[in-house]
């Protein structure tokens, strides 16, 4: 079975993450197991300090686990160098954070395009067209040439979502993507993510502690005290 045929996009086995502060060690993830199937929209639920963000950072290849195996598209991530991990992130992963982290001196189009344009070396017509298409999907065509500083909070987060999708990622990791938005904007963003999931088949793992946000997802995963616990 080739990695493309495997219904499992990500397999995490025995993931441990320990942080050290002076002589004190804190185990945030405790032999955590998780499988993420393709095409699903999964809500990662858990109280503050349960390890949601740490797990997302590890699944997003931003952080290496202290122990355990992480297999992504059939490839063991622990064996890759930092540079190869960065390349893998660029090709297969998209991120949406609680704060948009847009580049303020760049237009909406350039912000969406940069994860594709930087490795390509140029902002090609093809990449620009793709960015415009994504901005159209998130309803920002009239604002595509506006600088990030000229957009509202909700608009910025929608640009961040488009940015996460520019390289057609296999997995989009969203860490409290509506945390900084009002209720109405939150609903709009979640409806947008669900629409992209349904139409494009992109897999989403969304960290939240909000049940209403989780209701947009088709699967819930609970993390408590660094371990995945069965859903009720």
């Amino acid at each position: 079975m080739s990695p493309g045929d495997d219904p499992r996009l990500v397999t995490a086995r025995g993931i441990v993450k320990t942080f050290r502060s002076g002589d004190e060690e804190t185990e945030v993830l405790k032999a955590l197991d998780l499988e993420i199937p393709r095409g699903r929209m999964i809500a990662l639920l858990g109280p503050s300090g349960s390890g949601k963000s740490t797990l997302l950072n590890i699944l997003g290849l931003l952080m290496r686990p202290t122990a355990g195996d992480l297999v992504f598209l059939g490839e063991r991530m622990g064996e890759l160098s930092d540079d190869r991990l960065a390349q893998f992130r660029n090709r297969h992963l998209g991120f949406v954070f609680q704060y948009h982290h847009l580049l303020p001196d760049f237009t909406a189009t350039e912000n969406v395009a940069f994860p594709a344009a930087a490795p390509a070396g140029r902002l090609t017509a093809d990449i620009r067209a793709r960015a415009h298409l994504l901005l159209d999907r998130v309803g920002l065509t009239p604002r595509r040439d506006f600088r990030a500083t000229q957009l509202s909070g909700g608009q910025k987060q929608r640009v961040a979502i488009a940015r996460a999708l520019i390289n057609l990622p296999d997995l989009v990791l969203a860490d409290e993507p509506t945390g900084n938005l009002d209720r109405e904007s939150s609903r709009q963003v979640m409806a947008l993510l669900r629409d992209i999931n349904r139409r494009d088949g992109a897999t989403f793992l969304i960290s939240t502690h909000d049940d209403e946000i989780a209701a947009f997802c088709d699967q819930r995963v609970h993390i408590v005290d660094g371990k995945i616990v069965p859903s009720d």
Binding site: D83, Q87, H101, D105, P119, G121, L123
Partner: protein, 400 residues
């Protein structure tokens, strides 16, 4: 446009005021560099020209030949009477002919030189006598143009003396003076002209006369004691001297060897300039490095999101190195232009006596060197911030 250049350009133009201030600061260092380079080059040219305008560029003399001491068993040996021969160039006409074949020769002036005294009443002044061909008085120094009394005509058979020497003996053109050579010959000779050239060694001590008048004074009926050569390019004197030295057995000295102190002074001046230029470069490196480091810190979250999106460390580092290069290029071009204008302006200011205030050579501001060095220094200065930027931990910055 390559995307990395677009990002670097946007970063620079996002805070235009700060960037312009930085460019201006670096440009000022470039102005100092250009100004100092042009001034040092100008001073070197001026001092060299001042020195070489009044001296022989190549001086030919007879070598110090020591007569062989006769051995006791030599047939005609009696006792050595003198070990030193009279210094003279007997075949001087051949040497003059040879020298005239060299490139860039302006004048060749054979001379009968010697020391003597000018005696007037009870006053006695030492004098360096130069017997020249009658039309050669200006061959080494511009005596005619600087004659303040009488004429510089040697054909009249008189003496042309320096103004300071004339003053010390209260002499004026037309007055006779007793000339006593170091060979003990004496002659009453009229003062034909008095000159003031501004070089104390000439104004205080030298007296010119015709070569025919000098021969009997120094018991030298045929030869000459020296041959002075002037060249269109004084810098070529060592080369000309080498050719003449190889072709004759005479002592041939280029002006540089007679003016070692000038060479030392110019070298010291050059070293001082190099130190100032080095400090200007250090100032450039520090100002660019500190500003870009600040920018790295300010843009940590942006760099973090780039790294999270899988943009390589190389791309991030290149953005900052390019910023340094752009700042260096802009500042060096502006600084070079301002430096040129400043050098032109200060080089055109004249003193009350008509001479320039500062002998600057704006064309020799080292423009290619300063632009190259500034861009290289700016790129070097950007390496530390670029390295810091490429090491930003995306997790740390995104969570802040």
């Amino acid at each position: 446009m390559p995307f990395v250049i677009l990002v670097a350009w946007r970063y620079l133009t996002s805070n235009l005021g700060q960037t312009l201030l930085l460019v201006l600061g670096v440009a000022l260092s470039v102005v100092i560099f250009v100004f100092m380079t042009a001034l040092i080059a100008g001073l070197a040219t001026y001092l060299t020209a001042e020195t070489t305008s009044r001296i022989a560029h190549v001086e030919i003399e007879a070598p110090n030949t020591i007569a062989r001491v006769l051995q006791p068993d030599d047939r005609f040996a009696a006792q050595p009477v003198s070990t030193v021969k009279r210094k003279q160039i007997r075949n001087w006409q051949q040497v003059v002919d040879l020298a005239s074949t060299l490139d860039g020769v302006v004048s060749i002036s054979p001379a009968v030189d010697g020391n003597g005294f000018l005696v007037r009443g009870e006053a006695v002044e030492p004098v360096a006598l130069r017997g020249l061909e009658v039309d050669a008085i200006d061959a080494v120094a511009p005596i005619s143009a600087n004659t303040i009394e009488g004429t510089a005509d040697l054909s009249a058979g008189g003496l042309v003396i320096g103004a300071d020497l004339a003053e010390s003996l209260s002499l004026h053109a037309g007055m006779p003076v007793l000339l006593r050579s170091d060979r003990g010959r004496e002659r009453l000779i009229p003062i034909t002209g008095i000159f003031r050239i501004g070089l104390s060694s000439l104004d205080e001590r030298v007296a010119f006369l015709s070569i025919s008048a000098a021969r009997p004074l120094f018991d030298l009926p045929e030869g000459v004691t020296s041959i002075a050569i002037r060249l269109t390019d004084p810098a070529s004197a060592p080369q000309a001297a080498r050719i003449l030295r190889n072709a004759t057995d005479l002592k041939v000295t280029p002006w540089q060897e007679r003016n070692r102190s000038l060479e030392t002074a110019l070298e010291s001046q050059g070293r001082t300039g190099t130190i100032i230029q080095a400090f200007a470069m250090i100032a450039i490196v520090i100002s660019i490095a500190s500003t870009l480091l600040l920018s790295t810190y300010r843009r940590r979250s942006e760099i973090g999101i780039m790294r999270a999106a899988g943009i390589g460390r190389g791309f991030v580092a290149t953005v900052f190195v390019l910023q340094g290069v752009m700042i260096g290029l802009a500042a060096s071009l502006i600084g070079a232009a301002l430096g040129y204008r400043l050098a032109m302006l200060l080089g055109s200011i004249q003193r009350s006596d008509g001479r320039v205030l500062l002998p600057i050579e704006p064309a020799q501001g080292g423009y290619v060197l300063v632009i190259t060095l500034t861009v290289a220094a700016a790129a070097l200065a950007a390496i530390l911030p670029a390295r810091a930027a490429s090491r930003v931990d995306p997790v740390e910055t995104i969570q802040q």
